[in-house]
């Protein structure tokens, strides 16, 4: 069931990274580097978004032989709309209040 609550700042950072390349499959390590979120925060967030049907995931074959398959994530259509809504809200809040500093990366 989708949550109607405002997502946390960490979730907004994650959604911003995901919506920037909405059609692409993204990996956990890449998302972690881009958002600055540690696996301790990132993976529970990814699991929560997937449980809310905002994210889909799949195992992707490795590009090089001998490496294990990687779990990749991508926004669903509903997830993209959700991300656009809340990241737009976050950007609007930032630009209207110069005191609020953007999150560190």
């Amino acid at each position: 069931m989708r949550s109607a609550r405002r997502p946390s700042p960490q979730a907004v950072r994650l959604l911003t990274a995901l919506v920037a390349k909405a059609q692409a499959w993204r990996y956990g390590y890449d998302l972690s580097k881009e958002t600055g979120l540690t696996p301790g925060t990132l993976y529970p967030l990814l699991a929560r978004l997937e449980a809310q049907d905002l994210l889909e995931s799949e195992w992707r074959d490795p590009e090089l032989d001998g490496r294990p398959p990687r779990h990749a994530y991508r926004l669903t259509r509903a997830g993209a709309a959700f991300a656009l809504k809340w990241t737009a809200d976050a950007n609007a809040k930032l630009s209207s209040n110069p005191v609020i500093r953007p999150a560190k990366r």
């Binding site: 956990g28 390590y29 540690t38 696996p39 301790g40 993976y43 529970p44 990687r70």
Partner: protein, 211 residues
């Protein structure tokens, strides 16, 4: 150097989380293979935090605490048996060689002197073996290997039943085995209970436990 340690931590994290979130556990561990060497340890610690955070529950903490209490009691019980029987044997040897075990009350010395050396040697062997088996069972429980407590309990019960048959005539055959058999059986039942509770908690966190 950091990569092997990161792998150890990553695998432990995956083992902790797997019963609750198997897909996430596998995903985190697979991703570790693609993390750069410099980031691998930080990544592995992050995975560990994620695993413990999602596996933690009040019941899990209670089970671990109770496990450690029972294991401590069993460990002290086993160690004391080995230690006291060793001290008795040492006192007997000292008395036989004309030395005075010190400090020792008169009643203790009388009791030691009343039985032959072979009695105390036998007591030492039986109590140390039984005591060490209890210590091993305690260690298994303390590290969470509760499933190994039952086979150990069976060994201890068998030992408690067989040992008195070959005992010195001064060994009391009826009471001692009954006490030890009772205690280790209780420990095995408690360990089995912990295993059941732990699995139930995992299923509850995974969203699959029935009421």
């Amino acid at each position: 150097m950091t990569r092997p340690l990161a792998l150890v931590l990553g695998r432990h994290a995956a083992r902790v989380l797997y019963p609750v979130r198997p897909l996430q556990a596998k995903a985190m561990l697979a991703e570790l293979d693609y993390v750069e060497d410099g980031d691998s340890l930080a990544w592995a610690f992050g995975c560990l935090m994620a695993s413990y955070r999602q596996r933690m529950s009040l019941l899990a903490v209670g089970i671990v605490a109770a496990q450690l209490c029972v294991a401590s009691a069993a460990g002290v019980f086993g160690f004391l048996h080995a230690y006291v029987s060793f001290e008795n044997l040492r006192a007997k040897i000292m008395l036989l060689t004309g030395l005075q075990p010190s400090p020792a009350p008169g009643s203790f010395l009388y009791a030691i002197d009343s039985y032959p050396l072979e009695h105390w040697v036998w007591i030492f062997l039986v109590f140390t073996t039984g005591g060490m088996l209890h210590v091993i069972a305690a260690i298994m429980m303390a590290i969470g290997s509760n499933r190994k407590v039952l086979p150990l309990a069976i060994v201890i019960v068998a030992f408690d039943l067989v040992a008195p048959l070959a005992a010195s005539p001064h060994l009391v055959p009826a009471i001692f085995p009954a006490i030890y058999i009772g205690l280790i059986t209780l420990m095995a039942i408690v360990a089995a209970g912990f295993v059941w509770l732990w699995r139930w908690d995992e299923r509850r966190l995974a969203g699959t436990a029935g009421l």
